[in-house]
Symmetry: C2
Subunit: 274 residues, 2 copies
Amino acid sequence: MFRLRATIISIGNELIQGRIVNTNASYLSRRLTLLGIDVVAHIVIGDNFDDVSKALDTALMIFGSNIIITTGGLGPTYDDITSEAIARYLGEEYVINEEALREIREKYESRNMPLTPERIKMAYMPKSAKSLRNPVGIAPGFMISKDNFIIIALPGVPAEMEGIWESSVEPYLKRFSDRRIAETYIRLVGAPESTLAAYINRFVRGKNNIYVKTHPKGHETRGPINDLYIMVSTSQEIDPSEECFKICNELIDILKKNVNGLLIEGECKCNRSL
Amino acid sequence: MFRLRATIISIGNELIQGRIVNTNASYLSRRLTLLGIDVVAHIVIGDNFDDVSKALDTALMIFGSNIIITTGGLGPTYDDITSEAIARYLGEEYVINEEALREIREKYESRNMPLTPERIKMAYMPKSAKSLRNPVGIAPGFMISKDNFIIIALPGVPAEMEGIWESSVEPYLKRFSDRRIAETYIRLVGAPESTLAAYINRFVRGKNNIYVKTHPKGHETRGPINDLYIMVSTSQEIDPSEECFKICNELIDILKKNVNGLLIEGECKCNRSL
């Protein structure tokens, strides 16, 4: 089965300097994962041409991605260089996209604001780009399809990024994925992660369609609490929730039987994605 | 001047699947930036050997980093593979670190808990690693110094990562940096980012020691608000706060003079870092 591999490239000095947290990457990762698309890497870089080019090289050559989603750098300021950097990387002309310009002009004109060079700048895109309407703010996103990969460029402001994702990108990507996902969380109280590890390691061995992870929430030796996460992926024809429910109950039985004093909060409620 | 270039590699399927937000990378980026160390990239990958190796290659070969900080994958579970993956990448033996083992044994023995294989696993490190005591949880971090780079491996649990950072890593890295940083935020109300952009672009041109960025908080056309961030870096001998204060007031004067109806909230209060 052909597997889609996505890399998210987040562009912005404010990220690389740690002034803000990269919630965009987790939003996009979560959405892609629930679509059945494997996210293989996030790469975060500052606002400069060289690093955009290095990040694209890394995503394509090193991580073998076929979907690349960038966030940030589409605005009107001097350091918003994503569109031009992608054009240069692809060896494409960096030109005004007529659809983007129309959208931008309408938005400013409706407020009686003139089209300055900084505003027109947001309509410049690589020549082969398809503009993606921004239902929240001004700067449009864009998408470029090549033979073996696509690049989707979204703004960095979270509400705008999510707006374009929901209205244009997710509906588009959905058709390419033939996997289904279901997942569940259960809280395990009273056993250290290192005790659970032995049983979980043995249980998951050789099962490629499931992913099990303990997330320590208390303290390993003083009052241990672990949130157990189970994710199951199946092909289209199989209901992933049923599969997840079966696997979850099997694992809980093994843990109950073997781990002294283990308390289980909640039950195997597997939610199917999208 | 020799510039330190840091890359942060965050390892964990929960990150790549978007189930949690990568606050570790922003914490570390912020601390490194305030130390005067340039953070050039964050790379986030899942828990697997190949991707750790790809991320290390990217950090060293593509981004030319001399400081690499990893978070995650040091715990007792089957998918905690960071230490072994780094050992493999460096071509080093993966062995019990006696200092790490002593620390782990003490912590479990003080709770009358035996040393199981899963617990001993946390003492395995690349042969040349120096163990870093974990003042919060169990799993120690470690540091490896090579001729032209260092790798520092920290746990993924934020409190533990921060505990080791503060007690061991920051005091160690501080001595290598000869730059000082000062910064300030000022709120600009009533002008769209695209209007401010023209004046800021001209102001920053050719000034390499300053970084200016507007962060839109309102809406570009309906009630625009922008937080203006200014960061100034200087060598040891110069007070960065004075320099920052001067630059901030210069820029504010230009904006006041040129942008109609601009309201400035706050003043140029430049804080010096560390």
